[in-house]
């Protein structure tokens, strides 16, 4: 019951948060000193041509009118056209979103799958050699810049060893687009060859993105397990002779995961930001490389579109985390 209230409450706040996001994005991109119209019109345009274009794009209107029009358009799913290609931005984003989401989801999944058990073991064997080694790895995971790591991986695994493709998302055209997630699409088509090709293309970018995420997950799981394992309820469970494995992997882990789940929500945001760099290095046709392109071309409609969409993703992920949190920790929801 309280869980339902929690969900409705978060959904209620979703609307003003998104509106705020749009307003801030809009304001920031309109106070930058560059004049995108002059840029689009080109070097040889006359002053009249520039003014004409400005009117066409609606940029001659006062700011609040522009903002109002933009909000209405965005709520209808229209982010305007790219100043550079004149293609609708919503179409560009829609075709690139699955690529980024696929990369992000797989990275989070991989880092949680490896990070949670490592965090538990690291806490159980505190101050052992394994714990120290893991600490070094996690600190470097947080400290190493991902573009540098990405290039290093490319040099080693793609160029030197030749184990993985250098860049791109798939060799050739890729599977027919059904969901836009190549892993799923190729499985639906029953095309295992393409599936493994997609997997091999994902390895390096996923490793790059998952490394810092893994570090965070290991550290938070370790801290959570340490806290739980020194608690009175674990002492009680031990005093009542419950098997060690049940205590650790059931009773302790569930408590420890409360903190980890919150972190995973934050990691999503970091990964989407990180995708900007990683996608550029791996030539991954996702939102990140689109954002880099748009920034280099001062295509501010596209930049705004990217910012709003990734902001909405972040908000949705956090909403999901809040709900999952409610499931794991009954004190939250009942």
């Amino acid at each position: 019951m309280k869980l339902l209230v929690l969900i409705l409450n978060r959904l209620f706040w979703f609307v003003p948060t998104v509106l705020g996001l749009i307003v801030i994005t809009f304001t920031i991109s309109h106070i930058i000193p560059a004049d995108p119209v002059a840029f689009v019109a080109g070097d040889n345009a006359t002053a009249e041509q520039i003014e004409e274009l400005r009117r066409q794009l609606g940029l001659d209107q006062p700011m609040h009118i522009q903002l109002w029009r933009y909000i209405v358009a965005v709520l209808e799913g229209d982010f305007g056209v790219s100043l550079y290609t004149l293609r609708p931005i919503s179409e560009d984003l829609a075709s690139r979103l699955p690529a980024t989401l696929e990369l992000t989801f797989v990275s989070v999944f991989v880092s949680a799958l490896i990070g949670i058990p490592l965090g538990v073991v690291s806490a159980l064997k505190r101050n052992s050699l394994l714990d120290h080694v893991l600490r070094i790895i996690t600190v470097s995971g947080l400290a190493i810049a991902s573009f540098w790591l990405a290039i290093l991986f490319q040099l080693l695994f793609a160029m030197e060893l030749g184990w993985t493709p250098l860049q791109g998302r798939v060799a050739g055209w890729g599977p027919d687009v059904i969901t836009g997630f190549f892993l799923i699409d190729s499985l639906i088509m029953g095309d295992l060859e393409t599936f493994w090709d997609v997997v091999s293309h994902m390895i390096l970018p996923v490793m790059t993105l998952a490394f810092p995420a893994l570090a965070t997950i290991v550290r938070f799981t370790r801290a959570g397990v340490l806290e739980a394992i020194n608690s009175n309820y674990v002492m009680y469970e031990e005093a009542m002779g419950m098997p060690r494995r049940v205590i650790v992997w059931k009773y302790v882990l569930r408590n420890a995961l409360i903190g980890t789940v919150t972190q995973i929500g934050l990691i999503f945001g970091i990964l989407i930001a990180g995708a900007v760099v990683v996608e550029a290095v791996f030539d991954w046709p996702g939102l990140g490389s689109y954002a880099v392109q748009s920034i280099l071309q001062s295509d501010y409609n596209a930049i705004m579109g990217f910012t709003v969409v990734s902001g909405v993703i972040f908000i949705v992920v956090n909403l999901t985390v809040d709900v999952v949190h409610g499931f794991i920790d009954p004190r939250e929801s009942r």
């Binding site: 608690s231 009175n232 309820y233 002492m235 009680y236 469970e237 031990e238 005093a239 009542m240 002779g241 419950m242 098997p243 060690r244 049940v246 009773y251 569930r254 408590n255 409360i258 794991i328 920790d329 009954p330 004190r331 009942r334």
Partner: protein, 348 residues
């Protein structure tokens, strides 16, 4: 087989602390007869909880060190039993536990029902020892006959500890029930495996005074009905008087005197016990404490640890710890100068 259920002899336990090694238990003896409720009385920090946890085999692994002694339970020295076997067949089966703080001793993220049913799965009295460490791994459907039988047994236990609405309680999370109810649940869980011994570590300290009395009576009645021995640690002499058959008093990691409740309160023989009883508030009387303070366990006094505060202390008290001497039937005291009959501070 001896007639006593539990005999702790010469138990020595130390803790590594920042200030050095603390001698928390110094060759302690403790005896619990079958079906007896034994009070382990002493001030905070005297080693009661450490002794209780030693018997359960759950001393903190990193800091505690069991240096010497035997813990003989039902004729078997628990310190020589393989730890896995101990967990599977003794802890939560023959010896169960009621913790001090029912608020933090439940796992906060599982329902009460899930926790009790889990305990039932591993510690059901119907399991034999060979199954005890294994049976819980088998998957069990909630509709199965075994599950239903276990659930009935649990509900029956909850009725025995007089919990209102047992079915409803099982669906709740620990933070949704009151402290008194949680401690009733803890008692039910302690009874669940039909143990021979329950170790209750200050089970009522965290509760309101009015609830304390109910819980104590409940514990006493159920233990007596089921013929279960109880080791009951407390710093409250009044509580000990109400429910215990016999009492062992500890001071600074040494046991000083062990006697039947009546012997303890009417014929206290150790100087510490006498001072302790004298310090109980009485109507019209003035409050009197014991001069001095409890010694640091990192660097305890040699010999009898009470000697710096004892009015009768002589040289020998400062050199070697007295052996156990008898001060009457079932009445042991560790003192070179037991208080003479006429000087004892008996409670009327």
């Amino acid at each position: 087989m001896t007639s006593d259920l539990l005999r702790v002899r010469d138990l020595k336990v130390s803790f590594a602390t920042d200030g050095g090694t603390a001698q928390v238990l110094d060759h302690v003896n403790l005896t619990i007869g079958r079906g007896q409720i034994v009070g382990l009385v002493g001030e905070s920090g005297c080693g009661k909880t450490t002794l209780a946890r030693s018997i359960l085999g759950v001393l903190p692994k990193n800091s505690a060190r069991l240096e010497a002694g035997t813990i003989e339970f039902d004729g078997v020295d628990l310190l020589r039993v393989d730890p896995n076997r101990l967990a599977a067949t003794v802890r939560g089966r023959r010896i169960s536990f009621i913790p001090q703080d029912p608020f933090s001793s439940f796992n906060p993220v599982f329902t009460i029902g899930a926790q009790i049913m889990d305990l039932m799965k591993w510690k059901s009295p119907e399991l034999d020892d060979a199954d005890a460490g294994r049976s819980g791994w088998l998957p069990r459907l909630h509709g199965s006959r075994r599950y239903k039988a276990d659930r009935e047994r649990v509900l029956d236990l909850l009725r025995q500890v007089q919990l209102p609405d047992p079915e409803g309680v099982l669906k709740k999370y620990p933070h949704e029930v009151s402290g008194g109810q949680r401690q009733r649940l803890m008692i039910a869980m302690a009874l669940l495996p039909e143990p021979k011994l329950i170790i209750a570590d200050e089970p009522t300290t965290a509760l309101d005074v009015t609830i304390q009395a109910q819980i104590l009576k409940l514990l006493r009645d159920l233990a007596t009905d089921h013929g279960i021995s109880v080791l009951f640690t407390t710093h409250d002499l009044g509580t000990a008087w109400e429910i215990c058959d016999s009492i062992t008093v500890m001071y600074a990691g040494q046991e000083m005197e062990a006697a039947s409740s009546e012997g303890f309160f009417k014929r206290p023989s150790h100087p510490y016990t006498n001072r302790l009883l004298k310090s109980l508030p009485s109507r019209g009387g003035s409050l009197s404490g014991i001069p001095g303070s409890i010694p640091a366990l990192v660097d305890p006094p040699t010999g009898c640890r009470f000697n710096p505060r004892c009015e009768f202390a002589t040289d020998i008290c400062r050199q070697t710890r007295p052996e156990v001497t008898s001060a009457g039937p079932g009445h042991d005291v560790r003192c070179y100068h037991p208080v003479a009959e006429e000087k004892r501070h008996a409670l009327a």
